[in-house]
Amino acid sequence: MSGVKINWKNIGLFAIVGLLILWTGMFQSWNVALAILNMGLISAIMALGVNMQWGYAGLFNVGVMGFVALGGLAVVITSEAPVAEAWSAGGLRVILGLVFAAAVLIGAVFTYRRMRPGRSRALTLTAMLVVGFFVYRWIFDAGVDAVEAVNPAATGFLGGMGLPVILAWPVGGLLAAGAAWAIGKTALGLRSDYLAIATLGISEIVIAVLKNEDWLARGVKNVNGLDRPWPVPYEVDLQQSAGFLSWAQSWGMDPVTASAILVKLIYAGLFIIVLAILMWMSQTALKSPWGRMMRAIRDNETAAEAMGKDVTRRHLQVFILGSAVVGMAGAMMTTLDGLLTPSSYQPLRYTFLIWVMVIVGGSGNNWGSILGGFLIWFLWVQVEPLGHGLMQLITAGMADGSALKAHLLASAAHMRLLTMGVVLLLVLRFSPRGLIPEK
């Protein structure tokens, strides 16, 4: 969108998406339209993060879901009130166990670097790790048992730090950045496939940790009723305030709908601010010498290396940045939902859908990612009823109660997988530069 020349095609594309959301508002409901808008904003931020990795640097991250989930975890550990009883029961022991494990690992790395290669180093390292593991389990397990025994139906976890929930957004970014650093350190600098495989692995493991470590975020028991960030009110409070009721009446709206819409609008405002800041930062970065260097590396690694650029280091940098953005979006999403449900994290929804957004929108172009985020999210929400309708139409001629008809109707949900795969392949093949191509 630079300067004098106005790109009518891009403005038109955004206008179409805007109209689609308006259409939803007018013909379905404003609540649904705003829900699509809010998730569209969050999806756009996730797509922006993935685009940093793929579009700027050509890094293939197949573990977006893991970083999103880490953002969700950040909301719990930042904003939930600490469970004092659990802390006194075994909290310190759990933390001590984790610190001890980290110390053992750091010690092992240190030993590995300081000792000369040979049998004595191998033996020392093995002994350190094995003994360290058992000591860690001895400290950690008792603490976990104690924490999880504290009122398991309501808490059974350590709680968080009791800070304002808005802080969870940057914290989510930090958690994701930490995980990205660990992965990047291992897999970058090797073949590009390895990063894909390693990220796939870490995302599965993050989800497994969220599901099984009850002391951390209650596991599959979920954490409900998360705080809302500062300006967002609760619907119930709104419905009891006289000022709001008279305001809703002046618009001729029923208070329940009006309160839901107002809450969503305020969320949308917050998300737009975050998206605008991130967008401004990414555009500036992309135009700066740093951005030109990143693209030069992406287009010809060997040449960039010959010019003295440390390719692996730059890759690590942009991988961490992109993951942090995704983690932040994950925290925003959990805040919007108000609950953390580890079992809801599915690779299709949180990894590959984001990928489709980036590729359809136009990889390498930030505006493209935002467009893709909105457009694909809109389709994702609206296509499912269409799929069911289509199945109904196909099976309309069949006898009621036939096994085939029942099977087809029940399978309509799996059409999403198929559609996403087909869209990905078609765009990759016929329009690899996407709707808004890179300049």
């Binding site: 090797l190 894909a196 497994a208 198929l418 559609t419 795969g421 087909v422 392949l425």
Partner: protein, 336 residues
Amino acid sequence: MDFLNAIVALSNFVLIPAVAYGSQLALGALGVTLIYGILRFSNFAHGDTMAFGAMVTILFTWWFQSMGLHLGPLPTALLALPFGILATAAMMLATDRVVYRFYRRVKAKPIVFVMASIGVMFIMNGVVRFIIGPEEQSFADGERFIISARDFRDWSGLDEGLAFRTSQGITIVTAVIVVAALFWFLNNTRTGKSMRAFSDNEDLALLSGINPERVVMITWLIVAALATIAGVLYGLDKSFKPFTYFQLLLPIFASAIVGGLGNPLGAIAGGFVIAFSEVTVTYAWKKVLGYLMPESLEPSGLVQLVSTDYKFAVSFAILVVVLLFKPTGLFKGKAV
């Protein structure tokens, strides 16, 4: 006596399951490594190819069962297996024609192939769930055990039983036959040699008149057979559920990379390394240690190093260690 009991318990809960699981992983990793060697990309659709092959085999098995066709003590699935392989092979050739051939022609970067394979993974995943549904399916029939725990106890007079399931026996025997046939093919036939030449040095292979499209086609056929066999054996041994096949992707990749991507021998070794680590680390050692240790020292807990929920973390940890210290794998693969 206690020592014998310990050995029997160890074989029953660790050795036999790990050998069977290792054979399944090895077959899966062989497919991944062959594609990597010839087509030069990591095929993310491999897990779902296994699911597809297993699904077709299951459908044929049900059909045969309904007609009363049986193999006696052996599972009917073995009879259906060739049909599963045929269908998978047709499907693989079709995807190659529709999807991958274009990228070969434009000499796309390997990562684009990987992305395309993810698209294929989705479609296949959707097709499998559409046809057979996302639930668990069981299709094993025939004799359940070669040696059942009770027979073994009666025969040996030990406290511990040793069960050897038919599915485990079939897995091991089939894997040995398949691997022997594959290596014989790669080492002794003209086509096999041209495949190895193509994998080692594409340019030289092309110069010497090897037809690349033919090599690619044969590779897909072999991979279809390997994937279907691996998928069916895994389904017989554990159970068939589409999502678990997607999850198998990680241990399979780990096996192929640990052995060295592109190296068939490495893929087999890698499969067993991963399987043994996964099973030993997630097994509760209380029983075995209880037999071996004096009563006073007997462990009170389960002595399970890592809970089974984290079995994927085991393959991942091994993968990370290998990438850090020996990125070409134990057997010197092609990739760095």
